[in-house]
Symmetry: C2
Subunit: 335 residues, 2 copies
């Protein structure tokens, strides 16, 4: 049996291109005691991946040169040397960008395909789902009747933030790129409005378009993008607003030129706060979030949207879609 | 009886100069029913004054053209048409930059000269003192054993933050301009260290000097200045740090060019928060803070430092000292 792997060949500057990766046909790995061999069925492509390619300290160490690219994945157990798992079990965990993963049994979680297919366990039931739930309710402390704004509202995290906030009785305004995504955000996810940032380029027009949709100001802003959009929303904060810093996708490929919101003193004027978080800190409580999302999927109040691409060797071409807005829902690769 | 007033003649761009003000000899005001005539003995000069001169919405409305400049002050009641007050009572409140103030009795607070002289009621027992206490303990949630960094550490607010944090068992590092101020911060206020930002100009040197003093990172940063100093401290945050935005004196005279901290994503990496506040929101609880500060003054664990200047007509020359670092402790004008 052979494995196919995507390894980091060199650190990119700017957008990672084909030269960033080496794709290799390799012998299948052999599980050691306590390890499990998994056939990967779905690989999660996440905006945070770009950060893992940079040298230096962040919330987790960077991927090393020559290492298999880090990724969440879901698959089927082929062979187990951990008594917890049997061949045929369906699991998810940090499987990497490859066809066959050899991982410690203790690092895997069981998934139930009767509840959702592989790709959904990487989306609304996986890290993006947990990120949406804990960011919105724990960090953002969103409450019924408040106005929630979320950027990348058609994306894996943002799309669920929209739906969770609606479920909890908030007014929700999304921000997304292009009319097709905006329709997804309002018609499918149920946002009260969605601002197309491409149709309102520049801080002034963006601010004006948004202002019309948040007459009482913004109580919670769930920020996935940073840059000018962050600044526009921060100019419209309500008293005691919470700005949740989940990511800053606009700057990930030009990290050195990221700038902070020039109007951060609005935090003072509005007695507001800006807070960052890392979803892994809430791992012990994922069950709480997942229970609500499973319920929402079952009663139809939550719609999951995945964008599934095929072929492990297309990884170098598919990853950049996250940064150009080319995907439509949670981006998943089937190896 | 005649009054002498300092009124706003025109809105300044940049540093307010003599042309900003008109100084006039005027008839004494006549108190209406419910009002009190106060002889002003001490006027508080505060960094926030610069913001009040700008047009547009902030946490309080701007001072209008032709109006007496807004200021906290302390003085003696001359004549009262409010049953709460008698001639000879000592009071403080929003008296403005003038010799005689006519204000509503309900807006005044009694002060006790046996506890502290007029100028101290405008410093550690006044708004700066309340700002230090609520910013450090309520917004910053500083706890024993944590490392607290404070900028403008020789100033009215910063100097008290240093002393309060030491009283509560924190490691405290001040940031101030020049060796004389740094000595005040360590020797008189008791900080464990003080970084002279003038001796370490630029983000890199400043960061390096500070890093040596905060081996476990910064748990609470009390920011009075913004700019590069904010950025340097934000590069050294500890996990779950709190950045308290009290002011941004470095930008007050060039508001259009204020920039946000480029490294705000450290909030994410460190699961930290940045929060602004306005002290007036805590007015109902000032007694709590004042009780501790009075106790600290009495037992010698808190030292108050005022920089008292004379002559109402020197106001235009004295105010800019706040922005050039020319004052040494709480700046007070005796009219």
């Amino acid at each position: 049996m052979r494995n196919l792997t995507v390894r980091l060949a060199r650190r990119p500057t700017g957008m990672p291109g084909p030269e960033t990766w080496s794709i290799a046909d390799e012998p299948a790995p052999e599980p050691a005691e306590g390890e499990v061999l998994v056939e990967v069925k779905a690989i999660s492509l996440d905006p945070a991946m770009r950060g893992w390619l940079n040298e230096g300290k962040s919330y987790i160490p960077p991927v090393g040169i020559g290492e298999v690219m880090r990724a969440s994945g879901a698959g089927v157990v082929l062979h187990s040397r951990d008594p917890r798992w049997q061949p045929g079990d369906t699991v998810m965990g940090g499987l990497g960008v490859q066809r066959l993963a050899c991982v410690r049994g203790q690092d895997l979680e069981a998934i139930d395909l009767a509840i959702a297919p592989f790709e959904r366990w990487l989306g609304v039931l996986g890290i993006p789902g947990m990120t949406a739930w804990f960011g919105l309710f724990e960090v953002g402390a969103a409450k019924e009747g408040e106005t929630v704004v979320v950027s990348s509202a058609a994306g894996a995290v943002g799309g669920l933030v929209v739906q969770l906030a609606k479920r909890h009785g908030c007014r929700v305004v999304g921000i997304a790129g292009g009319p097709q995504k905006c329709r997804l955000v309002t018609e499918t996810f149920g946002a009260d409005a969605c601002i197309d940032y491409r149709a309102h380029a520049g801080l002034g027009p963006l601010r004006q378009a948004l202002a019309a949709e948040v007459p009482g100001g913004v109580h919670v802003y769930f920020d996935n993008v940073g840059g000018e959009i962050l600044e526009a929303v921060m100019s419209l904060l309500a008293r005691r607003a919470r700005v949740v810093i989940c990511g800053a996708i606009s700057g990930y490929n030009d990290f050195a030129n990221i700038r902070g919101p020039r109007n951060y003193l609005n935090l003072l004027i509005q007695r507001a706060r800006m807070e960052g978080f890392v979803v892994f800190d809430y791992a012990a409580r994922y069950g709480e979030a997942r229970a609500e999302i499973v319920k929402g999927l079952a009663d139809g109040s939550i719609t999951a949207r995945e964008d599934v691409r095929d072929g492990l060797d297309s990884f170098p071409d598919v990853l950049p879609l996250l940064y150009t807005g080319g995907n439509f829902g949670k981006l998943v690769l089937r190896p």
